[in-house]
């Protein structure tokens, strides 16, 4: 199910101003296909360019092979939520969350329900490593804010969990979740691919929403 978009504000780094964007709560097949079609060639070109420039493979974004169209069959599943931020006719970021089936693992909130972020991705032209001059800033933070606000709406008290792509240097995924989103890593909860698990407590969720670095 999709509802009408909500206006949010994002930062246009090219113009140096805050601009209106549309937050879509619920996505259509067409929106996902269009985003994938627009993102995929840019991801591939950017990755190829970086490799030609000598960037080690392990330093490159790990989600460049994601195919959002593979999630289309899950649209409409009431246990999941799909969200997108659109600006100037293009998706700037996408988010898929699970509303059920995941319980908190941190001792302070162990066993309590949370919102689990399955996939979150920013458009390639907004990623500094892929685009020397990113277009929009703070998209990742906005997407995480959506997850936290959903957690509050679902009475999960702001609790959010996710497995992060690797990279703990400044600006990389693990660093972002720990230092920008105030999530705690739990080494013992790595998944089958070795991805590190992060969790947000209700106290830190409140801090994130109030301070919300971007």
């Amino acid at each position: 199910m999709t509802n009408g978009p909500i206006t949010i504000r994002i930062f246009d780094l090219h113009k140096g101003v805050v601009v209106d964007a549309s937050l879509h709560k619920g996505l259509t097949e067409e929106q996902i296909r269009r985003a994938q079609a627009e993102w995929e060639p840019i991801r591939k070109e950017s990755i190829a360019r970086l490799r030609d420039q000598g960037h080690p493979l392990e330093e490159l974004p790990k989600h460049w092979g994601w195919d959002w169209t593979r999630k289309i069959s899950r649209l409409g599943n009431p246990l999941l939520g799909f969200y997108g931020i659109e600006c100037e006719g293009k998706m700037q970021g996408l988010l898929e969350v699970a509303k059920e089936g995941h319980l908190a693992k941190l001792p302070v909130q162990k066993g309590k329900p949370l919102i689990y972020v399955k996939y979150v991705e920013t458009a390639p032209w907004n990623i500094k490593l892929l685009a020397p001059k990113p277009h929009y800033g703070g998209i990742g933070s906005q997407l995480m804010r959506i997850a936290v606000e959903l957690s509050l709406t679902e009475d999960c008290k702001g609790r959010v969990g996710l497995h992060s792509l690797p990279g703990d240097k400044k600006g990389e995924p693990e660093w972002f979740y720990q230092h920008v989103c105030y999530m705690e890593p739990i080494e013992a909860e790595r998944d089958g691919e070795g991805l590190l698990y992060f969790e947000l407590t209700k106290e830190k969720a409140d801090e994130f929403l109030k301070g919300g670095k971007s």
């Binding site: 599943n77 009431p78 246990l79 059920e100 309590k112 679902e154 009475d155």
Partner: protein, 70 residues
Amino acid sequence: MADKRTMTLNLNDDEMDALDALSSRYDMSKTAIIRKALRMYQVIDTRLQRGEKLFMEDEIEKKKSELLVL
């Protein structure tokens, strides 16, 4: 989120106790518990209507049993 509508729910003592216990255990309001239950029921029902079956599995005891759902 879509607009919400209000309804009155009549529960007997046992049902209310069960709802209280779930609400307490999961640190969620009774409304949130019922919404979750409804959502799960919706998904299970859809799959049962497609002819699938719902099983519970005890990994330790190595037991698997079908859960019958209305």
